[in-house]
Symmetry: C2
Subunit: 152 residues, 2 copies
């Protein structure tokens, strides 16, 4: 991970479909070594994939909700079981294990409040071992960034 690698990562976070030629020019390399570095970054798991960024509103996902979950037990098994269950919920875009009371924080997307209610009833609350839930609704996203602040 030298400076050129960081430049590659930064450029591809900004434009994931950039051609190797453009990328090579941007980082000051010829295409061949640039492509090789790209392969290496993928093999090493630095770059885990490529994704189209989509406007959730345009696809009908008008609602973003943050759900705080407290488990009845906070041991390893309980957390692992919850993690396996939450991985199967496509509406959960992010899920973080938090410090403190070892709460869990979810970012959930839904088409509307009815759909979110259905998610709560039929999905989240079906997971055993949940002590309580607290939902906080987002009015809108002010910032949604996909580029880590990589220094170059």
């Amino acid at each position: 991970m030298d400076q050129i690698d960081r430049k590659i990562v930064r450029a591809l976070q900004q434009d994931g479909r950039m051609t190797v030629l453009d990328l090579a020019e941007k980082v000051g390399l010829s295409p061949t070594p640039c492509a090789r570095r790209l392969d290496r970054l993928r093999r090493d798991g630095v770059i885990t994939g490529y994704s189209a960024q989509v406007d959730p509103e345009k696809l009908g996902f008008g609602v973003t909700i943050f759900v705080s979950v407290e488990l009845e037990k906070q041991d390893r098994n309980a957390i692992d079981a919850f993690e396996r269950a939450i991985l199967r919920c496509d509406e959960v875009m992010e899920c973080y294990l938090m410090t403190g009371s070892r709460d869990i924080l979810l970012r959930v997307v839904a088409q509307d409040l009815t759909a979110f209610d259905a998610f709560l009833e039929n999905r989240l609350m079906q997971i055993p071992g949940i002590r309580n839930l607290r939902s906080n609704f987002a009015l809108r996203a002010m910032v949604k960034r996909d580029v880590l602040p990589v220094e170059t």
Copy 2:
């Protein structure tokens, strides 16, 4: 936005560097109309860009913090001013305006706690109009998804 459009969006969220040929086959179209749909989806702002997905740990961003911000005033001007200020903070990956007490929720990434402290002192707390802050630390990400649950 018909079923094929949704298939295109879904496929490109899963693999943003997929070629138009592969995409066309996947959605059951020939390449030309597939490329035309792709252009339209971009012009319409459904697809807003493409991005490489990166492992934050591998780039040294080991810390994720959620910061709740309460403003002194919650009127339009105060919120707009905060939004302009927060857009200039590269460490802020997400920022949502919340319901209720019109709190603001930030997801911040940092290299370590020292760097996060510097962000708090030199960046966030320099923004005027903040009544109080509350930081919650993530131990780890259980789920980090980039694919919206688009039905096809």
